[in-house]
């Protein structure tokens, strides 16, 4: 038998014996006892994860959750808990025995495991207590800020946009989608070294483009001479376009997560606003045909209907401008799924390759540093970066400096600086 599995089974036996002896006293109010039972379950959860014993992991994880709620006073004890937990750990005993017999991890009866988990969930009042799921980001369904997305961007890409974005739910949150991400960048954002363009670039290939504009209200205030006693405050609006899952966006934009606004891109969202001139009725009639044509993937009907309207009205009217934009948008998307967006860059170039460090540029490429090493260096540096952004505590900065110097020496990077701000910049440079 795999020695690690053997060790896990021995340890699981000890923990299960402890649980069996003490579970009946769960209602005694002895907090140390509840803690000890919790830890026994916790230990089995950790060990089963390491040896890949999924059934034991699922059961002990749930049992641990229940015991955690009990020890922290989130739920009150009732007799049924003892019964349900005995059933749960009895199943773990059976699984341990089966593994001892076979010498390997065994598959459980999935229905049985699910029944145990449901019984524990009921005790935790999971259905009632579970907070209503909320989107983890600020969603903008209207996204007025997207109406002006540069046509050069939209027509330079081929898009497989859905007609409308549909509901984002807990279940489909991490599906890959096309998102527009709006940073309403405050004038002081760089004070803490938080650069939105850099953060966006962490999305790598998932980032399709960046577009910038001055924040509209601020622009008005500046031009009118209002609300700006200090002079010209520049407040810009940055829109990143990405095809990514929410967790990828969350990872990259960690420092901005509370400030960004997100819109899942859809064709409808990019359609121009309804014009407000004398031709609006004609525009509405056309839109009926367009919507129908889009729904039926009938590109010809859509373009004919738009061209028909353009033939009826003056070219310089708001309706004509909106219709022309719509036409170009429809043509760009072709109303059908197309394989991929091409990268298109607005104001800022998106770095695709990390700039070579001076050390690497100056000498021949290091022989022993593998791609895996580089990945590990990135993981270590990323965690140092998180710490620096989180705190300016002197002891923490010294610790980070020490780790950076170890990694730099081992990974043959440029020697790191020692002040917090300089280290932040150094890590950004080294991580590309």
């Amino acid at each position: 038998m795999n020695p690690l599995l053997e060790q896990f089974l021995i340890e699981a036996r000890e923990n299960l014996a402890f649980i069996e002896q003490n579970l009946q006293h769960l209602g005694s109010g002895d907090s140390e006892l509840i803690n000890a039972i919790f830890r026994a379950a916790h230990t089995m959860k950790g060990g089963s994860g390491i040896v890949g014993f999924e059934a034991i992991k699922s059961i002990t994880h749930r049992a641990e959750d229940l015991l955690d709620m009990l020890r922290s006073g989130k739920i009150a004890f009732n007799e049924r808990m003892v019964e349900v937990l005995f059933d749960a750990f009895d199943e773990v005993v059976d699984l341990v025995e089966a593994a001892e017999m076979s010498g390997d991890v065994v598959e459980a009866d999935e229905a049985k495991v699910q029944a145990i988990i449901r019984a524990i969930d009921e005790l935790m009042n999971k259905k009632e207590e579970r907070p209503v799921w909320k989107l983890p980001f600020k969603l903008d369904r209207e996204a007025a800020w997207l109406k002006g997305a540069p046509m050069s961007f939209l027509s330079a890409v081929t898009i497989d946009l859905p007609l409308s974005s549909g509901e984002i739910t807990e279940e489909n949150l991490n599906d890959e989608r096309l998102y527009a991400i709006l940073f309403d960048v405050a004038q002081d954002c760089m004070v803490y070294g938080n650069d939105p363009i850099y953060a966006l670039s962490l999305l790598g290939e998932k980032l399709l483009g960046i577009d910038m504009a001055m924040g509209r209200d601020e622009a008005k205030a500046i031009l009118s001479g209002f609300d700006d006693e200090e002079g010209l405050l520049l407040r810009s609006m940055i829109i990143g376009y990405a095809r990514a899952s929410w967790s990828e966006i969350e990872d990259a934009l960690y420092n901005f997560i509370d400030d960004i606004v997100i819109a899942p891109l859809s064709l409808e969202l990019l359609w121009p606003n309804e014009p407000s001139d004398a031709n609006v009725e004609l525009y509405r009639d056309m839109m009926e045909v367009v919507r129908d044509g889009v729904a039926h993937q009938d590109l010809q009907a859509v373009t004919e209907s738009i061209n028909h309207l353009l033939g009826l009205i003056e070219p310089q009217t708001a309706t004509a401008v909106a219709a022309q934009r719509l036409l170009r948008l429809v043509e760009a998307t072709q109303l059908r799924p197309i394989e991929a967006w091409q990268r298109h860059v607005g104001v800022h170039a998106v770095p695709t390759q990390p700039a070579p460090s001076t050390a690497e540029a100056a000498c021949e490429p290091p022989r022993e540093i593998t791609e895996s090493d580089r990945e590990t260096i990135r993981v270590i540096l990323k965690q140092q970066y998180e710490q620096l952004l989180e705190s300016s505590d002197a002891a923490l900065v010294a610790r980070v400096a020490h780790i950076c110097s170890l990694v730099a020496s081992c990974g043959r990077l440029t020697p790191p600086p020692t002040t917090r701000q300089e280290m932040i910049a150094w890590i950004e440079q080294e991580m590309g």
């Binding site: 020695p3 690690l4 060790q7 896990f8 021995i10 340890e11 803690n35 000890a36 830890r39 916790h42 230990t43 959860k45 950790g46 060990g47 994860g49 390491i50 040896v51 895996s372 090493d373 590990t376 260096i377 993981v379 270590i380 965690q383 140092q384 998180e386 710490q387 989180e390 705190s391 002891a395 923490l396 010294a398 610790r399 980070v400 020490h402 780790i403 170890l406 990694v407 020496s409 081992c410 990974g411």
Partner: protein, 129 residues
């Protein structure tokens, strides 16, 4: 060349065996402790080049262990990796706040753990003590 010394602190023997084995393969001399208190006792007897610390343990938990370790003279910067089953962001932040250098969620891939730990002691491995 001195062999780098590591202390693995975890209340689960399975986890200790798993992590110790990986560190030994990475070239470390490894000691083990069952909780933070035993960790402090072992470390008082000599000190290590690297600490691998679990969070949830009886007697003395991992956070308190790291906090007390950092308060000792000469241990302010020694590499400490926290490895826990807790994947929440606040656990990670707590780990950093008490003085951990790195935070991983169990189980860590053996190759990854080997690379990370070697890098953190590469000054020792190269004999630069």
């Amino acid at each position: 060349m001195n062999q780098a010394r590591a202390l693995v602190i975890d209340d689960s023997k399975t986890v200790r065996v798993y992590h110790s084995q990986i560190l030994k393969e990475a070239g470390f001399y490894v000691d083990e402790a069952e909780n933070g208190m035993e960790g402090l006792e072992k470390e008082a007897a000599g000190g290590y080049d690297l600490y691998l610390v679990d969070i949830n343990m009886p007697v003395l938990d991992g956070y308190t262990f790291v906090e007390r370790l950092r308060a000792k003279e000469g241990r302010e910067k020694v590499p400490v990796i926290m490895i826990s089953t807790e994947a929440e962001n606040h656990d990670r932040k707590n780990g950093y706040a008490v003085g951990a250098n790195l935070y991983y969620v169990k189980p860590v891939r053996p190759d990854e753990l080997k690379r990370v730990t070697r890098m953190l002691v590469c000054d020792k491995i190269r004999g630069g003590r």
